[in-house]
């Protein structure tokens, strides 16, 4: 008996822990439930760059990340998908059309000379921009994580975004238009310079070298900067030393130094390379769900989940009597544990994910059904109640194991090979199946043996109706 009490204690502790986790750690909702856009971008090879490799993808990703940041969407996510695609998640994006327009297209890298008489203005504008960006970060941090964005917070975000865009435009206006664009840049490389400082080397082709020499000559020693713009956003505005006032920086290669750390130098390198790549990016998939629609889906799925669970609970209690009720308790513990596991592991719940969870309830029930059917058979064969329950568990085990392993195999195939929503389904179903094995084999077992320890429940008729109501025999053979 003591053995089961230890198990019961563990189960109780797990259940309490699960409730704490559920209340403390928010459930992460997928874009189909909270509203937002998911875009897949395809990087297209061109005549000059026939194959897109890791180096190219990294560069393009940095360009796209820059554009995503410009959208001012909180919790935006950019990841590489396969060899030549990027997956972008924009939760709560209010204008999917704008997002799609901004994200597609080829990167625009430009080297531009600062206009005369704007020296002080640039510093001021940069400060203003930094202020807006800080506001944006603060506003985004104050948003509830993983949930739908409140309307007033969204309005505030939009307002800051407009201010950022205006500020960037006025910075851009401080620089002359230029012929020196990214296609003339051949390479960029971050490397350690003197001391702890890092520098970024850049190289141009022949035409670029000539343009670069002219450009640097025009700003050398004036205190005006050489603006490096990616997608019209200022990346860096290094000054050119007066010693280049005669010839400009000739030879087509240069070194940008400043307060670079290894990280910031590398950032600039990747952005420059991204800007140098004439790789067009095309939006090949767009899945957008409005926030209201998402809320609707949540509500419907919750109804479906609860409805399904209640039907199953009723069926189990009616058909299997006492063990059915015990299994019902185990099932509710199962549901709590699984939900807590989702929150803890940061599983993003999508609509198919919820369907997977609901299905795993069916799987969890199956284990119990197998055990109880076996118990009834043993009872009918004339065994004692205690031994029947014992061998019910013992004999059903191999069926439960085989059945669950095969389902997990199917889930694993879906998880590794499937994409997007399919992955979410496989993950929730797979996790559910694994947890359900635990609850069926431990929770149900411990609870059932605990109940068997109470004399008033030790009646075979409570386990198998229709069996001759024999007086309870000794519980241990």
């Amino acid at each position: 008996m003591a053995k089961y009490q230890a198990w019961l204690g563990l189960i109780l502790a797990l259940t309490v822990a699960a409730v704490v986790v559920i209340t403390q750690v928010p459930t992460r909702l997928g874009l189909d439930l909270r509203g937002g856009s998911q875009l897949t971008l395809q990087v297209k090879p061109t005549a000059t760059i026939a194959s897109v490799g890791d180096r190219e993808m990294e560069a393009v990703q940095s360009v796209v990340e820059g554009r995503v940041n410009g959208l001012g969407v909180s919790e935006a996510l950019v990841q590489q998908l396969g060899n030549n695609q990027l997956l972008i998640q924009l939760p709560g994006v209010s204008d999917p059309e704008q997002a799609e327009r901004v994200l597609g297209g080829t990167a625009q890298l430009e080297f531009r000379a600062q206009r005369q008489g704007t020296e002080s203005q640039l510093a001021v504008e940069q400060q203003v921009l930094q202020g807006h960006l800080d506001d944006l970060a603060a506003a985004q941090n104050s948003l509830p994580e993983g949930a739908a964005i409140p309307v007033d917070a969204q309005a505030r975000l939009n307002q800051i975004k407009t201010a950022v865009a205006a500020s960037e435009a006025s910075i851009s206006a401080l620089f002359e238009p230029s012929q020196l664009t990214g296609d003339k840049l051949t390479d960029a490389l971050a490397r350690p310079g003197n001391g702890t400082q890092w520098v970024v080397d850049i190289k141009f082709n022949a035409q670029g070298a000539e343009d670069f020499a002219n450009l640097t000559r025009s700003v050398a020693g004036t205190g005006r900067g050489l603006g490096i713009f990616l997608d019209n956003r200022l990346l860096s505005a290094p000054r050119v030393d007066v010693k280049y006032a005669e010839t400009g920086i000739a030879g087509g290669s240069a070194e940008i130094s400043g307060n670079f750390t290894a990280e910031s130098a590398r950032d600039l390198e990747v952005q420059l390379r991204g800007g140098a790549l004439p790789l067009p990016v095309e939006v090949v998939e767009n899945r957008t769900v409005g926030p209201t629609l998402g809320r609707d889906s949540i509500q419907r799925s919750v109804y479906a989940g609860i409805g399904g669970l209640v039907l199953v609970l009723i069926f189990m209690a009616l058909y299997y009597r006492l063990p059915g009720i015990v299994a019902d308790i185990a099932l509710m513990i199962y549901a709590l544990l699984t939900w807590a596991a989702f929150n803890l592991l940061g599983v993003t719940l999508t609509l198919p994910g919820i369907a997977g969870f609901i299905l795993s309830i069916g799987m969890a029930v199956d284990a119990n059904v197998l055990i109880f059917e076996r118990t009834r058979e043993e009872l009918r064969a004339g065994k004692t109640l205690y031994r029947s329950v014992e061998s019910g568990f013992y004999r059903a085990f191999s069926s439960i194991l085989d059945g669950n392993v095969t389902t997990v195999i199917a889930c694993a195939a879906l998880f590794w090979l499937g994409a997007g929503l399919v992955k979410g389904f496989a993950l929730t179903l797979g996790l559910g199946v694994v947890i359900s094995m635990f609850t069926a084999l431990t929770c149900t077992r411990a609870l059932l043996f605990f109940v068997l320890g109470l004399p008033q429940f030790r009646r075979p008729s409570l386990f198998c109706p229709g069996l001759a109501n024999l007086p309870p025999r000794s519980a241990t053979p």
Binding site: G35, S37, T40, Q42, G82, S94, G104, E282, V283, V284, E285, N286, R287, T288, G290, P291, T292, L293, D296, S297, R300, S301, Y303, A304, G307, G308, L311, V312, Y319, L351, P352, I358, L359, I361, G362, M363, D366, E373, K383, T384, S399, D402, G403, N404, T406, T407, I409, A410, C411, A412, A413, L414, L417, G418, A419, V422, F425, A426, L429, P477
Partner: protein, 327 residues
């Protein structure tokens, strides 16, 4: 009630063959009509789907249903006359349009025109699905590969846990379930315009997982019975095993189908057909486990001269019996 699985095996096979034949005919007709065995949805065929809901908060916006002829007119004006249209509940205020893949500009233009003519639409309940043809092929091939890999994984696992012949017949039963479900959806595609998307492949994989579970439970019992009584003919062993597990098969099918029925009842548009596919597949799976996988195994063992358990199994059974008979 005792099912005579082996005695009436011809009947079970004929029922299955008929259902599969109807499905195959439907797939052939589908192939003629859509160039695919099942009507391909947006995910596989590529295209843009716009779902717009009228903003009913404004007075008068929702007076009357969405006028289809008016929508068609707008579409024709945009050069998208061949698009398909659907009006969805509640209150027939939701418009769903499926077109060829549209660029952002084309889409914005269409949305603007629709908004002016039929709207105003509620911007917070818009749904856009736009899938380029490349992605469509990618989704389809990754789904099919997942299906094949899981088949292979199941064969390997079952041949390790059981014997190869069990694994092969379990897979035949799986093909049966996949064919039946696909056949029904092919038929639904022809008759009700139901399309299949990536969720359908997910459904097939889930059916595979659950149905093999059903088969395994019966095989597990067959294996156990062979060990317990190696002198019994395989036909009787299988019959006995099916009947011993019958209540479990029915109850499990019921408990898995109940939540699915809840999804059909309450779930949104996308999940409805997903749940329906699962229900069909689970029913087919229970059927194939009870009637097909079992009778095929018995037939094979009989034909290949393995009607009785071997000596080795016999010995291990005796060992088993000693452990069992302690009470």
């Amino acid at each position: 009630m005792k099912l005579a699985v082996i005695k009436q095996r011809r009947l079970w096979w004929i029922i299955s063959s008929l259902v599969i034949m109807v499905g195959l005919v439907a797939m052939a007709i589908s192939w003629q009509q859509f160039g695919a065995p099942l009507k391909p949805g947006l995910d596989f065929a590529g295209g843009t789907r716009l779902q717009l809901t009228r903003s009913c908060a404004l007075t008068g916006a929702c007076s009357g249903d969405v006028d289809l002829t008016q929508v068609r007119q707008v579409l024709a004006d945009q050069g998208l006359g061949s698009s398909s249209l659907q009006i969805l509940d509640p209150k027939l205020q939701i418009l769903s349009i499926r077109t060829r893949p549209l660029s952002v500009d084309e889409r914005t233009q269409l949305q603007g025109a629709l908004d002016a003519e039929i709207g105003p639409f509620d911007t917070s309940s818009v749904q856009i699905d736009s899938v380029g043809p490349v992605i469509g092929r990618q989704l389809l091939s990754s789904g099919l590969i997942a299906l094949l890999v899981s088949f292979a994984g199941i064969v390997i696992y079952l041949s390790l846990r059981f014997k190869l012949d069990y694994a092969i017949f379990a897979i035949i039963a799986l093909f049966h379930d996949v064919l039946v479900t696909s056949g029904v959806f092919s038929l639904l595609g022809l008759m009700a315009g139901v399309e299949v998307d990536s969720l359908f492949i997910v459904a097939l994989l889930t059916i595979v997982g659950f149905s093999v579970n059903d088969t395994v439970v019966i095989y597990d019992r067959v294996r156990e019975n062979i060990k317990l009584s190696p002198q019994t003919h395989i036909n009787n062993i299988v019959d006995e095993a099916v009947n011993q597990t019958l209540t479990r098969s029915i109850n499990t099918s019921l408990t898995t189908t109940l939540p699915l029925l809840a999804i059909v009842a309450f779930g949104g548009q996308t999940l409805k057909y997903f749940a329906l596919a699962l229900i069909i597949g689970f029913v087919a799976g229970a059927y194939s486990s009870i009637f097909i996988a079992s009778s095929l195994l018995a037939l094979w063992r009989e034909r290949s001269g393995q009607m009785y358990g071997d000596i080795e199994a016999n010995l291990s059974t005796m060992a088993n019996q000693e452990i069992e008979s302690t009470h």
